[in-house]
């Protein structure tokens, strides 16, 4: 069997992939819920997997009293450079910043006097 048809098929396959990439960037959209349904004491935190990030959502309540605060940030892939934490004592917080490649994180403020119930921390793009 000649190799020419195989080459044509290969070229068509690659062209199709490239066309799909250019026409539908949202096909690469991703999201991750990296914390869900957990009690957090002061300074508890967790980070997401890496990727392009356009949002980080932090949902929490305070069933044990007080007004404990939660925060959100985005960091580069080495965690040596992060944006400033964004804090609040009521959620849902939606972090609207973005980073081309890095991780998102959420954290209970170290100054909290009460445990906070974290419904979820979720990030992604799209």
């Amino acid at each position: 069997m000649s190799r020419a048809p195989l080459r044509v098929l290969l070229v068509l396959f690659v062209a199709t992939i490239l066309a799909a990439t250019a026409a539908a960037p949202t096909a690469w959209a991703w999201s991750q819920t990296y914390v869900s349904n957990v009690n957090w004491g002061p300074a508890s935190s967790k980070a997401s997997i890496y990727g392009q990030i356009t949002f980080n959502y932090v949902s929490f309540t305070h069933p044990y009293g007080g007004l404990p605060q939660m925060g959100t940030t985005l960091c580069d892939s080495t965690f040596t450079s992060c944006y400033a934490w964004r804090w609040s004592n009521t959620g849902l917080i939606t972090d609207e910043r973005n980073i081309s490649y890095g991780a998102a994180a959420c954290k209970a403020n170290p100054g909290n006097g009460y445990v906070v119930w974290v419904n979820y921390c979720a990030t992604g793009n799209g």
Binding site: F79, S81, W85, S88, T94, D95, E96, R97, A105
Partner: protein
């Protein structure tokens, strides 16, 4: 003696509950004293894309019809701070104000009574090209909000129920003072954890996760 003079103005469209209380009463919880700008200002006819996305996400999170919420969005402030950002807001089905400082942060409490008495706030959030800020929705009984970062006073404006003040992202500690019309005030302390600090634990968590992943991979590779 605590006597409520007026209560409950929640309409089907989610108007913010309004309470009036005597001066010696404890302050109304959250912004339950009312956020009149969400009714007084005209709805926005065309929402910028980030605002529409915020409304869809936050409305669903609060059991609110997103399309109905979009029709209730008001632009409360414009051209704020270094990034010239706008603030848009709507009332969710429970009557709590959900707001977005475009391209920076959004906040959507479950109830108008959530958060600090008189102010549902968020603080911090600096990134390259933008300092940190305090932004929040104040109830109608709040006349001013003061912000001090590391002991230095930061100018804060209050207009259309929105407070906004900008400060350098290296700040470590913030004190927010909420001044009410009856002369009473409340204070909120925030450990800011400025950029470059407080990430050692995240780096440790990341390193530990990577090590665990490698251990699992080695275990799977063994016959």
């Amino acid at each position: 003696m605590a006597v409520a003079l007026a209560a409950a103005a929640a309409a089907s469209a989610g108007a913010v509950v309004a309470n009036a209380v005597l001066a010696d009463d404890p302050p109304p919880a959250g912004v339950s004293a009312g956020v009149s700008s969400l009714v007084r200002l005209p709805p926005v006819s065309a929402l910028p894309r980030p605002v529409a996305r915020f409304v869809e996400v936050s409305a669903r999170a609060r059991a609110t019809d997103p399309e109905g919420a979009k029709r209730r969005v008001r632009r409360l402030r414009s051209d704020l701070g270094t990034t010239h950002a706008d603030v848009y807001a709507f009332a969710n089905s429970a009557g709590a104000p959900c707001f977005i400082l475009v391209d920076e942060v959004g906040l959507c409490p479950a109830r108008p009574t959530d958060g600090s008495p008189g102010l549902q706030w968020t603080i911090g959030g600096g990134y390259p090209g933008s300092p940190s800020n305090l932004v929040g929705i104040a109830s109608d009984d709040v006349v001013s909000v003061d912000l001090s970062v590391d002991g230095t006073s930061v100018p804060v404006s209050l207009r259309n129920n929105v407070v906004f003040g900008e400060y350098p992202s290296k700040g470590r500690h913030a004190e927010i003072t909420i001044n009410r019309r009856d002369g009473s005030r409340g204070k909120v302390q925030v450990n800011l954890e400025p950029a470059g600090q407080g990430f050692a634990d995240l780096r440790y968590l990341r390193q530990r996760a990577l090590e665990e992943a490698r251990t699992r991979a080695r275990a799977r590779a063994q016959p």
